[in-house]
Symmetry: C2
Subunit: 283 residues, 2 copies
Amino acid sequence: MTALKEVSSNRSFGGYQKVFSHDSKELGCQMNFAIYLPPQAEDGEVPVIYWLSGLTCTEQNFTTKSGVQRYASEHGIIIVVPDTSPRGCKIPGDDDSSDFGIGAGFYVDATQEPWNKNYRMFSYVTKELPEIINSNFAALEECQSIMGHSMGGHGALICALKNPGKYRSVSAFSAICNPIISKWGQKAFSGYLGSAESANWADWDATELVKGYSGPPLEILLDQGKADHNLTTELFPDNFISACKESQVPVILHMRDGYDHSYYYIASFIEEHIKHHATYLKA
Amino acid sequence: MTALKEVSSNRSFGGYQKVFSHDSKELGCQMNFAIYLPPQAEDGEVPVIYWLSGLTCTEQNFTTKSGVQRYASEHGIIIVVPDTSPRGCKIPGDDDSSDFGIGAGFYVDATQEPWNKNYRMFSYVTKELPEIINSNFAALEECQSIMGHSMGGHGALICALKNPGKYRSVSAFSAICNPIISKWGQKAFSGYLGSAESANWADWDATELVKGYSGPPLEILLDQGKADHNLTTELFPDNFISACKESQVPVILHMRDGYDHSYYYIASFIEEHIKHHATYLKA
């Protein structure tokens, strides 16, 4: 079993907000993750929601700013928040920009040198981390959902679409829904996966993936602020909605008047998302 | 009227979380404050709660981590969060330590050189800032309460006790209740006010002040985590409670099992405090 080291532990809404570090095999480095353990986890196994964060974030942003603990405590759900990239690998160029390398793993498994040894965030968040959670905490193994924000919204969508049946439900705030036509996505995919000509970018793009989705019913909830400066240049929720309709995958899109890309926006609506997931996690 | 410059504005729980900067006359420098404007403030004047933060904080800590916006929105209350000291004054020694100078104004009006020109946080938070809020926002002038955390809990208590009738209610998390016997308090009071022999420290100590309180009824709510590492060395809530009983001032003390000094603790109980204040602000 992977050895976990407790970095911090704070009582929160009757449960515990903790951070652990561990040596990741997939990523070849030491990683932190945050975990909220609701009071119900002291008496038995409970469902789990994975939260994937956006560019530049660590496990701290969602944990300190979203207010999720209140709702996780009410519904009796564990919340797991991984970091957004490998750390400390010292790959040349990994800290040159805020949208590639450190803090910007994009939840893919890189195929290109020098990134392919460490930048395997897809396998980390869908396989290694759930195994760690399931074997160390009071988590119901077959009962998990996934959500995220911006780059992490993209991550949540592709993790669910590429693993039919693995997650009961998926939701996203301000997701990069069609990365192969966004600047952030194109930069990340070129670097981690190779050029659009040589690599199958569509295999990591939610809008493309949903067109071929044939797994069990998956409840998708999208949330988007209308005052988000990235809306028309990076996110493209309309493309995803159209693709869902084409392929008859049920999806809900909430457009929020006046809300932006920040954690103030996320905090305002996180309760709705936790309720959405609770419906499917407790069905 | 003081010119306010909007630093940021984010939609939050149907209202707006904003930060403004302005030139403070009391402090002789440019200051930031955060203000949450609930949706009800668009239709008329609403009550105001001032939050005073602890050592090392700016206007950001409570604003990003407490989750207060949800409850301020529900109850229709403006929340104002000042910084914790003057900034940018470049007084020799003002950044030597985390418990004196920058980030550690202690909500007193300094009498000692070189601090007495700028370190006038008591006058700033009780006079200058309320005037700015009342003249620039939809604030009910005679309808305000005050609360805070740690150094800011001390601040909230002395602001209320030294200004009978000014605040409808006061509450504090992890307050430094008896600073003249705490290390933090003794260091701050020595520096800002002069030695215990030469200055009247009791005039800035909540436990001493409450013994002589003779103003209108003041509802005091104290909150304290039992796992707070500072509890027995810096905070001394029991001394304050005893003094309240002696002088027949009503006080409620909630001791919380397992909770520490952090914003995870504050977030867990901020709803109760906002409800407490709402009772008196809307009476």
